[in-house]
């Protein structure tokens, strides 16, 4: 019998993700219609087009590069959420771990004049440390990782503001430009920028993030360590019974997740694409968008690469909407609707499976009927 393509889990995930995107855009469109019916379509188109709004090819390439520059940290945050989720942990603290990475890399670069590599290592250490706190609290004190993660997000934000105030420009709340104050810490470009119309912000950050995704895939699918982690996630008690150190696995998972998000912070701020604002009063959305990318990517590292790009594409696209009618946050709105819909993925898969089962049953009945009729005819 021919294998039904719809039965494969990967295909179902893909269908579910596309459904989420389409429904998310549709609901976003309806919300915009309510706010101001005249410009809603243009706004959605602007969000979808992003850099394609420019008609000149070289400007398109340059802004495509900019979107990619921000996709790299988003992908790292998404991988952080994904890795923890595979072990049954919801790492909403990725946002704070990302901030910790930003803090470490900027401070080491500007205050101590470190090069990019040691800066990145420090970012990993900071992110991992924040993750470790969540892990220790979860493993030994049974504290819900979502709540402790949120608390650490805010603690991390205020600590970062405090520390980075020491390396800010004297006349503005922003930190010094890495490019002028600490050029040794800039990530090497390796000539990648030339591909994007000499975009100086395009660096090894982008290939590094993609390599990280592949490494995560291999670790989770092909190693004993990854298998143990996933087993712990599926059933903590069964894993313990089978002789796996479930507490150690929880802590280790969150340390790795924290490290991944921490690298994300370094990958963006060591390109000098942005400066940190020391008076920031809300946790940057990067970590939260990472959650969107993770679930949209069907919880698969490779899927996450594309989902991260999509989420960043519409987030950057938000900058191009008509500001007299809407604000750039409509892309946040759309991505949060998409996350909400991702909650229904299990249901969508269930519905698909039900549909398949029903049609197969019908087919079977028809065959039986036909067989019975054929028999009757012979008599």
């Amino acid at each position: 019998m021919k294998k039904n393509l719809l039965k494969s889990d990967a295909v179902q995930s893909l269908i579910a993700s596309f459904l989420c995107i389409i429904l998310g855009l549709l609901i976003g469109f309806i919300v915009l219609l309510f706010i101001n019916p005249t410009g809603a379509w243009d706004a959605i188109v602007a969000v979808m087009k992003n850099f394609l709004t420019y008609s000149r090819a070289n400007l398109q390439m340059k802004n495509f590069g900019n979107t990619l520059v921000k996709t790299a940290p988003l992908l790292m945050c998404a991988l952080s959420v994904l890795f923890a989720y595979k072990v049954g942990l919801f790492n909403i603290g990725a946002a704070g771990q990302y901030v910790a990475g930003v803090c470490a890399s900027i401070y080491a670069a500007l205050a101590w004049g470190w090069g990019w590599f040691p800066c990145m290592i420090l970012a990993i250490v900071f992110g991992a440390a924040l993750g470790a706190v969540v892990g220790l609290l979860k493993a030994y004190c049974n504290v819900n990782e979502v709540i402790s993660g949120i608390m650490l997000n805010w603690i991390g934000l205020y600590l970062t503001n405090m520390l980075l105030t020491k390396v800010k420009e004297s006349t503005s709340p922003y930190t010094l430009h890495i490019k002028s104050a600490a050029p040794q810490a800039l990530l090497p470009g390796l000539g990648l920028g030339a591909l994007f119309n000499n975009n100086q912000y395009v660096t090894i950050a982008i290939p590094l993030a993609i390599i990280a995704a592949i490494v995560i895939l291999v670790v989770l699918e092909k190693t004993k360590f990854g298998y143990e982690l996933k087993a712990t996630g599926n059933n903590k008690n069964a894993a313990k019974y089978a002789g796996m150190a479930e507490k150690r696995n929880i802590i280790l998972t969150l340390i790795i997740a924290g490290a991944l998000a921490g690298i994300g912070g370094a990958l963006l701020y060591l390109t000098d694409y942005e400066q940190w604002q020391c008076t920031q009063t809300s946790v940057p959305g990067m970590g939260f968008n990472g959650i969107a990318a993770t679930f949209l990517g069907g919880l698969n590292p490779i899927g996450t690469i594309f989902a991260s790009y999509f989420i960043q594409h519409i987030t950057s696209g938000g900058a191009y909407v008509d500001k007299t009618m809407y604000c750039s946050q409509i892309s946040d709105l759309i991505s949060s609707i998409i996350i909400y819909l991702c909650g229904f993925v299990l249901f969508i898969k269930y519905a698909i499976n039900q549909g398949i089962a029903k049609s197969e049953e019908k087919k079977l009945q028809k065959e039986k009927l036909a067989a019975a009729e054929a028999k009757g005819g012979e008599k």
Binding site: I147, L152, W154, L159, Q329, I330, S335, F344
Partner: protein
């Protein structure tokens, strides 16, 4: 000193309201991580009501209508959580997180659109309510008494009575402890859970409007509610899901939150020369420590977070 008491009480009221909301939802078996978003939407409802009320409205009507608007918005928004987690058995953590992001993003988009429509140069996400705010406040000497303190106490009594003294409350709690057993004696688990989530939406919405009326007379919706929904969850856990203990926990957390607002009024605190950020961090640090100490022996409802499936025993 009086100022510290005043801020402690008002922030404790916010935390109490929202934590009681979480308490209802969790007792029915649904983890409500979306409280933060519900607060934002409730605050939005109340703020819009205050903005559009005609100038001559009496103080009493302002209070009642604003509270009603916050409740309606909060309940309607919490229905999104109920549909997803009860009827479609969605992952409650994902949906809750989505609601938090959606709350802030949605409120920002809406308020910005309203502001720009009124005045094309205004691209802020701020709503002002200097005049209507006065209706909520009674000055007793230099102490600003806020009607929300009364609302919070009423809701505390309401929660206690409903949960422990009525058939409905006991049935609700049964659905959070052992839904299969509850179902076997004829309780409609889905209906009960819906009720729990909607009540939490009502209390969350009230808490939201209370929070933005606490110290300031305008609110920038881009900022959301700064993790207050999660602080309330910490209060709830520290209070072991029991209304009276939640009230005490709310006072403790409210005190630390109030410190960051008024620390510069105390000479000896100022002389310590601690940066303001440290006071801002205080409530979060305290809650981490408190959670670490109390979560080990937590008496959380046993079936919380697990979608109810009739076929499972």
């Amino acid at each position: 000193m009086l100022l510290l008491v005043q801020y402690t009480l008002i922030f404790a009221s916010v935390l109490l309201l929202v934590a009681l909301g979480g308490c209802f939802s969790e007792h029915s078996g649904v983890i409500n991580l979306g409280l933060e978003g519900i607060m934002v939407i409730g605050a939005l409802g109340g703020a819009l009501m205050m903005r559009y009320l005609p100038a001559g409205t009496s103080g009493f009507m302002i209070v009642i209508l604003t509270l009603l608007a916050a409740i309606v918005f909060g309940v309607a928004y919490s229905a999104l959580l109920a549909v997803a987690s009860i009827n479609f058995k969605a992952d409650q953590t994902i949906v809750g997180t989505a609601l938090n992001m959606l709350g802030t993003a949605g409120a920002t988009v809406l308020v910005k659109a309203i502001n720009t429509a009124a005045n094309p140069d205004d691209v802020s996400s701020t709503i002002q309510y200097i005049e209507p705010k006065k209706a909520f406040i009674v000055n007793i000497g230099s102490f600003e008494f806020n009607w929300f303190m009364v609302v919070a106490v009423i809701m505390l009594i309401f929660a206690y009575v409903v949960l422990y003294k009525t058939k409905f409350g006991l049935r609700l709690m049964a659905c959070g402890e052992h839904p299969q057993a509850a179902d076997s004696v004829g309780i409609d688990v889905h209906k009960m859970r819906w009720a729990g989530v909607l009540i939490s939406g009502m209390l969350g919405g009230l808490g939201g409007i209370c929070y933005i009326l606490a110290g300031v007379s305008e609110w920038k919706f881009e900022n959301g509610v700064a993790g207050f929904g999660f602080l309330a969850l910490a209060v709830m856990i520290f209070g072991q899901w029991k209304p009276t203990r939640i009230a005490l926990a709310a006072l403790l957390f409210g005190f630390f939150r109030a410190l960051s607002n008024v620390y510069f009024g105390f000479d000896w605190l100022v002389s310590l020369n601690i940066p303001g950020s440290v006071y801002n961090m205080m409530p979060y640090i305290i809650s981490l420590i408190v959670l670490a100490l109390t979560s080990q022996h937590s008496r959380a409802p046993k079936a919380e977070g697990i979608p109810y499936d009739k076929g499972m025993r």
